[in-house]
């Protein structure tokens, strides 16, 4: 099991139902600063729902989510964001009619707000450094529409890092991007880790998950079916079964 140091976020038996479909069923895990937890599972296993529950887009019913020991289960999305939960989306949600500068400043604004309330310090990197790491050679006044899909995903990650999050949720950052951009994403996640974020990574690319994550939680039909370091997960019978189906016994 996970080495229990000082978790920044705790999920306790978190549930979510959409009508008759159980999207999350007693999901429990912890996130620690500077650690990357992978959240994997087949399509429809409740990974994105779990992110939505943590960021507040969906209501938890029932269950408890703690951030720094404080119950945030009933808090609004923006309150959680101000407390230090940042996220990206499977399909980047940028301000489509604004320029790149405005999009980045939005992250800055939240970062400033968090610093003003003493909840956070300055991040060590400047916007230029982050853009450099992301390999984005873009004009700040350019429209978002001039960016490729991969570039938009990178920009969304930078926007989240600028808020200096305590908890950083990434929803399939590697989906639909090329290998070079994948390396950029690795580098950006490394920066978030250096800034002491606890990262929760939802991802289908096993390459990325197995090489990056310190610990992995596997979901299937809303239930946690396995938890462990990458090597354990790769050999776990239940996980293999969930992904590939049960071996038929003759």
């Amino acid at each position: 099991m996970s080495p229990k140091n000082n978790p920044v976020m705790v999920l306790e038996k978190v549930c979510k139902r959409f009508g008759g479909v159980v999207a999350a069923d007693d999901v429990s895990f912890e996130l620690e600063p500077g650690q990357i937890r992978g959240l994997i599972g087949p399509n429809g296993s409740g990974k994105s729902t779990t992110l939505n529950l943590i960021s507040g887009i969906c209501d938890v019913e029932p269950g408890i989510i703690l951030l720094d020991g404080e119950d945030i289960t009933k808090k609004a999305i923006h309150e959680r964001a101000r407390m230090g939960i940042a996220r990206t989306f499977q399909h980047p949600r940028l301000l489509s009619r604004c320029d790149i500068k405005t999009n980045l400043f939005l992250g800055h604004d939240l970062g400033n707000m968090r610093r003003a309330s003493g909840a956070s310090q300055e991040i060590d990197q400047s916007v230029d450094e982050l853009l450099d790491v992301a390999g984005l050679k873009i004009g700040m006044d350019d429209s978002i529409k001039t960016l490729s899909y991969g570039q938009q995903k990178l920009l969304e990650i930078i926007r989240a890092i600028l808020t200096k999050p305590k908890v950083f949720l990434l929803d399939e950052p590697a989906a639909g991007i090329n290998t070079r951009e994948m390396d950029r994403i690795r580098a950006l996640i490394a920066i978030a880790i250096r800034n002491k974020a606890a990262v929760l990574l939802v991802e289908h690319s096993m390459d990325l998950v197995m090489s990056l994550c310190d610990i992995i939680t596997v979901l299937n039909f809303g239930c946690v079916i396995a938890e462990g370091v990458p090597a354990e997960i790769q050999g776990n019978e239940a996980v293999i079964e969930a992904y590939l189906g049960r071996r038929r016994h003759a």
Partner: protein, 325 residues
């Protein structure tokens, strides 16, 4: 953004130059038209704030304009309050009114908020029309004294022109400052992607109410100035039609940047004066023009112009590249 800043600066300078010289070059009648144009511009800017920036379409603006006008009219005519106090009361009162209304209406989302604001302007118009003891009913309120600060009276069209110009400049600069501030970015985040805005710590409900209150403030000031300029007000001015006219002006100029409202308002207010010989057809031309614009330049004249400039530049760049090879 430097290009936009340059354009904005240029427009502002032109406006200033115009403001300084206009009263000496045009007739009194044209000056009245200019004054009305500037008052309308303030309302269109208010729509720029709530719709252009925050993405919440509102038809309540003419109603707010009326609230501002009636507050000033009632305060000066019936309660003999000084004009300056009445102006401030109109601005702040209308802002407060818009904020309270916003608290209720922003429980609705998207188009439903827009529909509700149609109800607002209609109810307000009905109120102005029928609440006889307060608004004077269909007779309206007459004999509104001229605007004055102490013994300095703004009775002539020329002095009013300068007064309104000052208000216009203050409102334009304030809007520009908001546009560049974190508040403006929160507005635009709500417009473009509400979920993303929330995940970036924006309290969408509260921020929308603030945007609505700011738009109410602008309309309230415009309404007060309108009352002082025309010295008589009645419900017929503050209609749904007027609100849609603001929207047309904003769409015509372009609702993505501040010069949009300037261009849109100036064109739609001045065109009828220039094309007076087409009087009977002016509405037809309006309608067709708006439709044509939405097809050809959906981002308005400013947006379309910017696009044309960009493609022209790219073309030149392309030519230069080919020449180099």
């Amino acid at each position: 953004m430097t290009l936009q800043r340059k354009i904005f600066g240029l427009v502002l300078l032109l406006l200033l130059a115009l403001a300084l010289t206009l009263p000496f070059t045009v007739s009194n009648y044209m000056l009245r038209v200019c004054n009305m144009t500037m008052i309308t511009y303030m309302c269109v800017v208010s729509l720029f704030v709530i719709f252009g920036m925050a993405g919440q379409i509102s038809f309540a603006q003419a109603g707010f304009w009326g609230v501002g006008a009636y507050i000033s009219a009632i305060l000066t005519v019936k309660l003999h309050v000084s004009a300056l106090v009445a102006l401030l009361a109109s601005g702040l009162g209308t802002a407060a009114f818009a904020a309270i209304l916003g608290l209720a209406l922003f429980r609705l989302h998207g188009h439903y908020f827009g529909f509700a604001t149609i109800g607002v302007v209609m109810i307000l118009n009905g109120l102005f029309q029928n609440w006889k003891p307060v608004t004077g009913g269909a007779d309206g309120i007459a004999n509104i004294p001229p605007f004055a600060i102490g013994s300095l009276e703004f009775a002539s069209e020329t002095s009013l022109f300068y007064l309104i110009a000052v208000a216009v400049i203050i409102i334009s600069i304030a809007t520009y400052v908001i546009y560049r501030s974190s508040l403006g970015r929160a507005f635009m985040a709500i417009r473009d992607n509400e979920i993303a805005a929330k995940c970036m710590g924006v309290n969408c409900y509260q921020t929308k109410v603030i945007a609505f209150a700011i738009s109410g403030l602008y309309c309230g000031i415009a309404g007060s100035l309108f009352a002082f300029v025309s010295s008589y007000i009645s419900a017929t001015s503050f209609t749904f039609m007027q609100s849609s006219l603001y929207l047309v002006m904003l769409m015509l100029g372009g609702y993505h940047s501040l010069p949009g409202p300037i261009v849109g308002t100036a064109l739609l207010m001045m065109l009828p004066e220039w094309f007076r010989f087409l009087q009977e057809y002016i509405l037809l031309i309006y309608g067709l023009g708006v439709m044509l614009l939405m097809v050809v330049m959906p981002d308005g004249l400013i947006g379309g112009g910017k696009q044309a400039l960009e493609s022209y530049r790219n073309k030149r760049k392309g030519v230069a590249n080919v020449a180099q090879k």
